[in-house]
Symmetry: C2
Subunit: 202 residues, 2 copies
């Protein structure tokens, strides 16, 4: 990267099936560039985190009122930010294979474009990110070779995703998106600005 | 009230034992006055709402990581806003009697001062808002007669609080603070500005 960072480094933990992670993914790089903060993108599956809390699906499915609110909240926020939004079916999607491919993609300069392409396919077109076709198209959109999709079955990335999951839990993560600056944790798209400020002053 | 409202009316639903409700209570009137929006303050007990979700205590107690995060988040936010903060013991406090007194107090022009005094006693001094002494001092601080405390045992306010609870659930509330503008629901201190903007444009 040729960008000169004024200082500060922030880790962006996102779950590919998470609605609010979509919001942050679409704006974090622009805000971080303005602030001069370096951002590290890390996919993290929420399944194990939710499992540790005794949940077998998204809390938005378990708690009906909370779920109804979230869909309306996303509709309002996406509208205000000029982003498309559609509720995917099923929700949440199985994001494990896509997350492994994201790990591989993020080793290249085009990984973030791949992640954003997946979010747009899922949340504006209602596509299933577990489908090889969706992953393949997102790779192409990002200018990445289609055979990167093989990372979904690669033991190296299977292991790397488990490591990310364990690491996120040890840092106190309980949802996504989350942002960490050292040991300082910020949860939710609403805290992105606070996290960037923290990175700047840390 | 002599204030001229440019338009819009917002209902502020708060739980007296709720940390994030404290944050909103301390700033909502100043922001609403600036915006020219009329605010109606309504205490609402979260107990029945949480009970409907199968919880017997605050989710911050049930989900350890979420709870640990909340206390740190409150610490940071209060520090940034120049507010004191201390974790009350026990948490959450039993707010039912205080909420009935708040209903009575809010029929006077000093009700909001009473509510803010209760929040400050609880979250900056660690006092128990279920204690008659805490309620009595908050009444005096707000310039209200001490015998207003009898509302805690008054069937009229017992019934009014149950009605508020049922009404809030029927509107889709699942946590506090919440803000409603007509049927539009906003959840969390983070959405206060959005709710005010909605009230202005509604």
């Amino acid at each position: 990267m040729s960008t000169a960072y004024r200082g500060g480094k922030l880790t962006f933990w996102f779950e590919l099936a998470s609605t609010y992670s979509y919001l942050s993914a679409m704006r974090i790089d622009a805000l971080a560039d303005l602030a001069g903060v370096e951002v590290i993108w890390r996919p993290v599956p929420l399944g194990p985190i939710f499992g540790a809390q005794g949940w077998t699906t998204s809390p938005f499915n378990i708690y009906e009122a909370k779920g109804a609110y979230m869909w309306r909240d996303m509709e309002r926020l996406c509208s205000a930010r000029g982003l498309g939004f559609r509720k995917p079916d099923p929700f949440p999607q199985n994001s494990i294979r896509a997350a492994r491919v994201a790990l591989a993609a993020l080793e290249t300069p085009h990984g973030r474009d791949f992640v954003r392409a997946l979010y747009l396919a899922q949340f504006t077109e209602g596509q299933d990110i577990a489908a090889p076709a969706t992953i393949g198209t997102a790779l192409t959109t990002a200018g990445l070779p289609a055979d990167l999709a093989s990372a979904a079955d690669d033991p190296v990335y299977k292991e790397a995703l488990k490591t990310a999951s364990a690491e996120s839990i040890s840092m106190g993560l309980f949802g996504a998106p989350s942002f960490t600056v050292g040991n300082e944790l910020f949860w939710g798209d609403d805290r992105l600005e606070d996290a960037l400020n923290w990175a700047l002053s840390a």
